[in-house]
Each structure stands twice: as structure tokens, then as C-alpha cells.
């Protein structure tokens, strides 16, 4: 089966810093793929490339096997790729409901909507309330400005938005970083439900227990590229941590070896 | 005041051998200076000379005029025609230009002292003010003049001379003086304000027609337009129309085209023979009104419309 979303050899340089250094990526239908890696490994840059927010200097992106070029987030979104960015991408001076539906507002039915393009403000507020309740986030009013929300509340708004609108792929960059125990649990449940709807999910997270609880496969990123893909069923947390720190290495045959041991042997 | 040229500058001319003449007006928003510029251009074309027209950004922009003169000298203008904003502010730049052998002629406005430039071609501005004053006084039928006086920019000789001429002839009771920079908007505001106090006003002196237009708007808004005699100076076609329609009572026509043409001719002559003109060349004036008054030579607006400058 062709992957839903794949990438080969992505490169992105910022002056002297190389954020992506020939990164590969593959997401299969219906799976939850975790992307893990150290701080600064280039995870966010990778998913920004996949969601059109960053244009890579080199490399190729394919959607269901077909090469695509994303010039902006809108291009990716047209393919049904929906993203929660690590820095959330919310407009602080606008309210929760407006942010949730930003760029995708719903109009009233009837002539008011068709002719006068009037928004269905009430309906959008109602639905915003519903998705936030689902995440167990307690906010007084959907007209509260995002800049007045707590860190976790803000993150919940971003997560709710992606969950509500993704139609082919949902990408989440550390969606639970600011969330409480319960709220994190709800997000994991939500990811589960999205998978049940048949949509694949990309989850970037530093939280290994979460990753191992939910992921079908784990993509390990290090120094700007993918160094391994493992299954949580067959590999331990320690192995994954070893891979992402560089203490372990995955050979071409899929076996994992300690880095110190391979010196001199891995040649030829 | 012949000053022999020492440094280069006047020796140069443009690539195609045309004499370069610079013109620096006060602004390029006042129609008067537009007419002056156009006439100079036409005359330069006729004589195979090149004219570069520069201006300050607003009436009173000494800094802009200084830079304009400097830049013209640099590019090798042999003659600079200038309508100096302010007699003290730009004399340094004029002197530097003359030191480099450039012929500098003042148009429209005298410098102070007059010999700061080689020659001056202008209306006798004191007299123009006097003519305005005489008419206004006569038009008031023996009532003493109670006037608002709308001046130009502070420190400019036109403004001072016209004002002095008017005061001498009309002997007004001064109900208030304001600097208008010769601009309509400022004149309107100034008049609106002065009218707050000057309830007995029966006449308004204006140094030029833009100021007169502003004064009229303010009077009209207060419903005083019929009661007050406005005098002015310039003689633009719009101004003559305003006289015709009764908005202003009188305007003293100037002849900017003649100033420009004469200036360009001096420049061309200088380029040919190196001869510099000196002294004050007066261009004439004409009192324009449709209500001629005894003892005052005047022309009617029909004549005015034939002879107005734009």
C-alpha cells in the first residue's frame, strides 16, 4: 500500500544551522506514527515542511504516491493535512471560537449567509464549546480572548482545531506539553478516535509513556534526519531513548547495536 | 558688483552644449510659480537653453532652497533664477554660487540687501501694496479702514514690502496680522480666527490670491462676504474671475511671465557674452477691478482675463 504521506531527502538550512539534513518520512494509512527526537533534532522543521509552513531547500514530498509542492500551509490543507503547531499558531487578540474556525468560518444558512456572507457566530460558538468539552477543558466562555487563556487552555484550542478539521492526515507537534494529566489522557483518547475514523495521525512528543501507549510505529529523528523506525511492540522505551540520543544505532538490517561497539566494524 | 569667476563651474555646460539655467521657486503648488516656471521653460526652449526647475517643499522651506541652489551649482548651471523665501536664510548659498561665477538673479522677491544677487526682476512690491491700499481705502467711501492683514512667510521681503505699502496707503486700524505662507488653507484658518475678535472688520489685506481665496471662504462661512472689501495681489486668471464675480474687490496684477522671460534672456546673454546684468528691473503692475474709482488707474476684468497669467 502506498503511504498516505511520505518524504525523501528533505533539507532545510538556516544560515549555518542545518535543521533538516536529508530527512525521510513515511506515514501509512490509519496508523498513529510517533516522531521522537532530542530538542533541536529537527522534528518541528520536518512537520512544518510536511504541512507547507516551511519550503524545504531540497527533497521531495508525496501524497498518496504523487509528488506535491507546498508553497504555503494552504496548499497542504487542500490535501486535507491539518496541523497543531508547537507554537500553536493562534491569534491572541481573537476569541476562542474565532480562532477555532479561523480560515474556515461557517456562514449562516439562507440568504443572510449566501448573499450577505453573514457568519453563523452562534453555531460556531456552540460547536467550539462542544469540542473543548470533549477535551475536558474548562473555559468560561467561547468569547474569551486567547491571550487571556492559561497555557493548557490555549493548547487545547489548537488541538481541538486540528482534530475537528483534518480530513486526510492530522499532525500534532507536542499537543500535550502544557496539558494536565486528565487533559492529556483526553487528547490520547481523541487521537485514538481519529485513528478509528481511519485517519492517520502524526504525533510528536517527548513523553515516552504516551508514545508507547498510543503509537503504532515510532519514527526516531536525530540531527536532522530519520535514524530509525521501530515498533513499540518489539522495542523498549530504553531502546528508543538510546536511538534518539545516539547511544544506539539501527543497522540497515533493522538490528540495533551500541555505537561504541561498531567502530571499525561497520566499514565496507 | 562684478565678481570675476575664479573656480570652474560656469565654464561647464551640458553634454549637448546647451546652456543650463536653474530656476528655484518657493513652491510648485502656487499657480503663480507654475506660470513662472512654464514661461521660463518656453523661453529657454526658444533660446536653445536647458532649464531645470526646482522648488522648496513648502513656502518657507529655506533648507530646501539652499539644497536646490547647491545642487544646481554642482551640476553646472551658469545662471540661477531664484525667488528667495527669506532674505537671510539663503543668502549664504547664493553667495557661494556667485563666488563660483554663477549669475544669480532674484525673481519676484528681492533679497535684503538687494545686491546680494546680481540683479532682481520683480514687481515693485511696495508699490503693489500701496495700490491695493489706495483702492481699498477709496472703496470704503470715507469709512476708516479696519483691516485684517494676511502676510506671507515671516522674514520675506515680498511680505514686508507689500504690507508696508498697504499700510502706508490705507492707514488701516490693524485688527490683526497673521502669517499665511501665501497658502489658502492657512489663510482661511487665520481669518476664521481673527474674525472671532475682529467683529468690526470692513477690509482685508492679502499678500496674494491664494490668501485672498482663503479669506473669502472664511468670510462667506460667517456670512460677512458682502460687508468686507478684500484686496489682493497677483492677477491669475482665477483671481480675475474672483474679481469679476465680486468675491474680491481688487487685485493688483503682476507679470510673472515677463520676469521669467527677462530672467532667461539675461541668462542666455550671459552665456554668450559673459555680461552680467545688475540692479533692479521692475515689471509692471495693473489694478484690476470692475468698479473703477476716481483717482485710481485701473483696468476691468475683461482686460484682466486677456492679460492674466494662468
Amino acid at each position: 500500500m502506498t503511504p498516505v504521506l511520505e518524504a525523501h531527502g528533505l533539507v532545510k538550512r538556516y544560515g549555518r544551522v542545518t535543521a533538516m539534513d536529508g530527512a525521510d518520512f513515511e506515514l501509512s494509512a490509519g496508523e498513529v506514527l510517533a516522531v521522537v527526537g532530542d530538542n533541536g533534532a529537527g522534528k518541528s522543521t520536518l512537520i512544518k515542511a510536511l504541512s507547507g509552513a516551511v519550503v524545504p531547500d531540497a527533497g521531495q514530498i508525496l501524497v498518496e504516491g504523487k509528488p506535491v509542492r507546498f508553497h504555503g500551509p494552504l496548499d497542504a490543507r487542500r490535501y486535507g493535512i491539518e496541523t497543531v503547531y508547537q507554537d500553536l499558531a493562534l491569534a491572541p487578540a481573537l476569541d476562542i471560537a474565532t480562532n477555532l474556525f479561523l480560515g474556515r468560518e461557517r456562514r449562516r444558512s439562507g440568504p443572510l449567509g449566501a448573499l450577505f456572507r453573514r457568519l453563523d457566530a452562534k453555531g460556531m460558538r456552540r460547536d467550539a464549546r462542544r469540542v473543548l468539552d470533549e477535551l475536558g477543558i474548562d473555559v468560561k466562555s467561547m468569547t474569551q480572548l486567547v491571550e487571556t487563556l492559561s497555557g493548557g487552555q490555549r493548547q487545547a484550542v489548537a488541538v481541538a482545531r486540528a482534530a475537528a478539521f483534518g480530513s486526510r492526515v492530522v499532525i500534532m507537534d507536542e499537543p500535550t506539553a502544557a496539558l494536565g494529566v486528565q487533559e492529556s489522557g483526553r487528547v490520547l483518547e481523541l487521537i485514538d478516535r481519529i485513528r478509528d475514523r481511519g485517519l492517520p495521525v502524526v504525533l510528536i512528543s517527548h513523553n515516552m509513556p504516551h508514545v508507547f501507549e498510543i503509537a503504532d510505529r515510532v519514527h526516531v529523528h536525530r540531527l536532522g534526519k530519520r535514524v530509525a523506525v521501530v515498533s513499540p511492540k518489539t522495542h523498549s522505551m530504553n531502546a528508543v531513548v538510546g536511538l534518539l540520543t545516539g547511544a544506539l544505532r539501527m543497522g540497515d538490517d533493522g538490528t540495533i547495536e551500541e555505537v561504541g561497539l561498531t567502530t571499525g566494524l561497520g566499514r565496507s | 558688483v562684478g565678481c570675476t569667476s575664479t573656480k570652474s563651474g560656469s565654464e561647464e555646460s551640458t553634454g549637448d552644449g546647451k546652456t543650463k539655467i536653474g530656476l528655484v521657486t518657493k513652491t510648485d503648488s502656487n499657480p503663480y510659480f507654475v506660470a513662472l516656471r512654464d514661461a521660463a521653460k518656453a523661453e529657454a526652449d526658444k533660446n536653445g537653453a536647458e532649464l531645470v526647475a526646482l522648488a522648496g517643499k513648502f513656502d518657507g522651506d529655506n533648507d530646501g532652497q539652499v539644497a536646490a541652489i547647491e545642487n544646481l551649482v554642482q551640476q553646472g548651471a551658469k545662471t540661477i533664477l531664484v525667488t528667495p523665501n527669506n532674505s537671510t536664510g539663503i543668502l549664504g548659498a547664493i553667495k557661494k554660487a556667485r563666488d563660483r561665477g554663477v549669475l544669480v538673479i532674484a525673481l519676484d522677491t528681492e533679497t535684503d540687501p538687494q545686491d546680494a544677487v546680481d540683479a532682481t526682476i520683480a514687481t515693485d512690491n511696495t508699490n503693489a501694496g500701496r495700490l491695493q491700499g489706495q483702492y481699498v481705502k477709496a472703496a470704503l467711501n470715507g469709512q476708516p479702514a479696519r483691516s485684517i492683514l494676511l502676510d506671507g512667510t515671516p522674514g520675506s521681503t515680498v511680505s514686508e514690502q507689500r504690507h508696508a505699502g498697504f499700510v502706508e496707503a490705507a492707514q488701516p486700524e490693524n485688527l490683526g496680522t497673521e502669517a499665511t505662507n501665501g497658502e489658502q488653507n492657512k489663510a482661511q484658518q487665520a481669518t476664521e480666527n481673527l474674525l472671532q475678535r475682529a467683529t468690526t472688520v470692513n477690509s482685508i489685506y492679502t499678500l496674494n490670491e491664494p490668501a485672498a481665496r482663503g479669506a473669502y471662504s472664511a468670510l462667506k462661512a460667517k456670512g460677512l462676504a458682502d460687508r468686507v472689501v478684500i484686496g489682493s495681489i497677483d492677477g491669475s486668471c482665477d483671481g480675475v474671475e474672483a474679481v469679476k464675480s465680486g468675491e474680491i474687490a481688487v487685485t493688483v496684477m503682476q507679470f510673472p511671465k515677463k520676469m521669467a522671460e527677462q530672467g532667461v534672456r539675461f541668462a542666455v546673454e550671459f552665456a554668450k557674452s559673459g555680461k552680467k546684468p545688475t540692479g533692479f528691473v521692475e515689471t509692471e503692475t495693473a489694478v484690476i477691478t470692475d468698479k473703477p474709482l476716481a483717482g485710481i488707474d485701473s483696468e476691468d476684468t475683461a482686460w484682466g482675463l486677456e492679460n492674466c497669467w494662468g
Binding site: A53, G72, P73, L74, R77, T83, Y85, L88, A89, L90, A91, P92, A93, L94, T98, N99, L102, G103, R104, E105, R107, F116, R117, R118, L119, A121, R125, R126, R129, S141, M142, T143 | D28, S29, N30, P31, Y32, F33, V34, A35, D38, E178, E183, Q184, N185, Q189, A190, E192, N193, Q196, R197, P210, S217, D238, G310
Partner: protein
Amino acid sequence: MTTRVSPSEFILRTPAIGPAIALVVAVVVFGLTTDTFFNVDNLSLVVQQSLVIGTLALGQTLVILTAGIDLANAAIAVLSTLLIAKLTINGTDAPIALVVGIVAAALIGAVTGGLVTGLRLPPFIVTLGLLTIVTAASRLYAQGQSFPVTDPTLGWLGTTQYLFGQIEVTYGMAVMLAMFVGLWYALTKTAWGKHVYAVGNDPEAARLSGIHVRRTVLSVYVVAGLCYGIAAWQALGRVPNADPNAFQLGNLDSITAVVIGGTSLFGGRGSVLGTLVGALIVAVLRSGLTQAGIDNLYQDVATGALVIAAVAVDRFSRGRQR
């Protein structure tokens, strides 16, 4: 779920409340200290005096909401008056000339927007450059003349009517009101409006949310250009004379109205209602000080101080919330 809003929150969330308080204070003070300010026709005059700057300021509000600024707006309106007047004088039908003038203003708006979005240049520089260019173009076009306008269509906005035989209103006021309502609706009730705010508040977040940032900004400059064209029409209604030297301070005056109205120069926060109030405040100050018999230069001093005070009132009325 219903959303009830407490008074203090209402103040915080309604950017026009502060300026409105300042306006009321100014009106009351002038009403009490002068005999003439409260005359019905004086109040009407104040509104008329605010029409041109107010209309320019409506366009300016849109631009500022996107974190831009338009220094060329008044110059564009002036060029538009010249176009309209000269075309009419040369025999074009007045309504057609009017449409040409307004469309021309919108086109210049499109050019501005194109430079800002296409080349990603700071709006300040683009509109400053255009200010110089458009002003020069007006002067070249006018050749030192100004053009009286006599056609009734062109002066129509200045036509006075009496409501209840008492209250002097002009069609210009009606047009202004209609524009205000239209823009208020577009900004608060349509997706376009939300996008305008989002783009001004955080352009990167807007981009990542899938908003066509450039298209939105471009559309704002076009709509603003339309406003300037209509301001030209308003100007002909006030003063039936197209003059290349008019409204030289219109750009700063319109920005003043916008800022007094509580809209942030950093974009994303503000309202057209505030702008309307801001334009009225300035007109009230001028008129009130005149009624009080204060001289021009002292009026300037007082206006300067009162403009600052008006904004201080605004800050104070919401400052408590911090």
C-alpha cells in the same frame, strides 16, 4: 450557552467605549461653557466638518487593522477630486466622472496593496513613496490650476436637508453612516473581517491557519482606496473646488482619528466605531474652541493637549483592568 458580559468586561472588550466617554465629556464641557455649541445647527456643522477626514479614516482603519499605515490616503483623494472635476469640465457626464474618480482611487489602493504584499515592503515606505508620487502627479495634472465644480451630482453630498424642519442633515452624512454600517458589518459579521483582524494581530498565525494573508491585505487596500474615492466625493460636497493643495495634513489627521478611536497602530485591535468617534472628537475640539473664542495658535495648543487628554481618558477607563 449564553454569554453575559459584565460592565467592566464590556469596556475592556469594546474599544470604542473610552473614546466615546471622551467625546461626551468634550461635548458637555463645550456645551456648558459656550452659548452656541449646543445649537442644533452647530452640532450638525460639527458632523459635516468631520465627514472628509472621517471617510478617509474609515479606510485608514482597515489598513491599520492589518498593522499597516496609509500616508497617501488624502493625496489619493485629492487626485480623485481633480480627475472628477477636470473630466466634468471637459464634458464627461458627471456621474461617469465620479465613478472614474472613485475607481481610480481604488486602483491606486490596489497598487499600494500589490507593493505591500507582492514585494513585502513596509506599508509606511510604500505609502510614503506614493504620497510623493501622487502629490506630484496631482500638481502635474492640475498645472497650477484649481477646478471649480458646479455640477449638482458632484456637490450632492453637501446638499442640506432638514429633518423635522430643524435638524440640518446632508446626504454626505447618510453616505458616511452607510459606509460605517457596511464596514462594521464586514469587519464583525463576515469571515473577511475576522481575517483582517487575524492578519493584523499575528500574520504568521494567520498564515498557518490557512488564511490567504496576501489576498486579505490586498483586498483591504482596495476597499480603503474606495473609501478615499468616496472621501473625494465628500470633499467636493464640502468645498466645490478641486485643488491640488487641499488636505495636505489629511493623512495625519485620519491616523489621529483612528488612534484616538482606540485602534492599535500595531494592528489586530480596534473598530470603525472608534474611528467615527475619533473623527468627531477632533471636529468637536476645533469647533468648541472656536465657539469659546480662542485664537488659532492657542487653539492649536489646546487641541494638542486635548487630543492627548482624550486618549488618556480612554486608557484610564480601561487601565483599571490590568
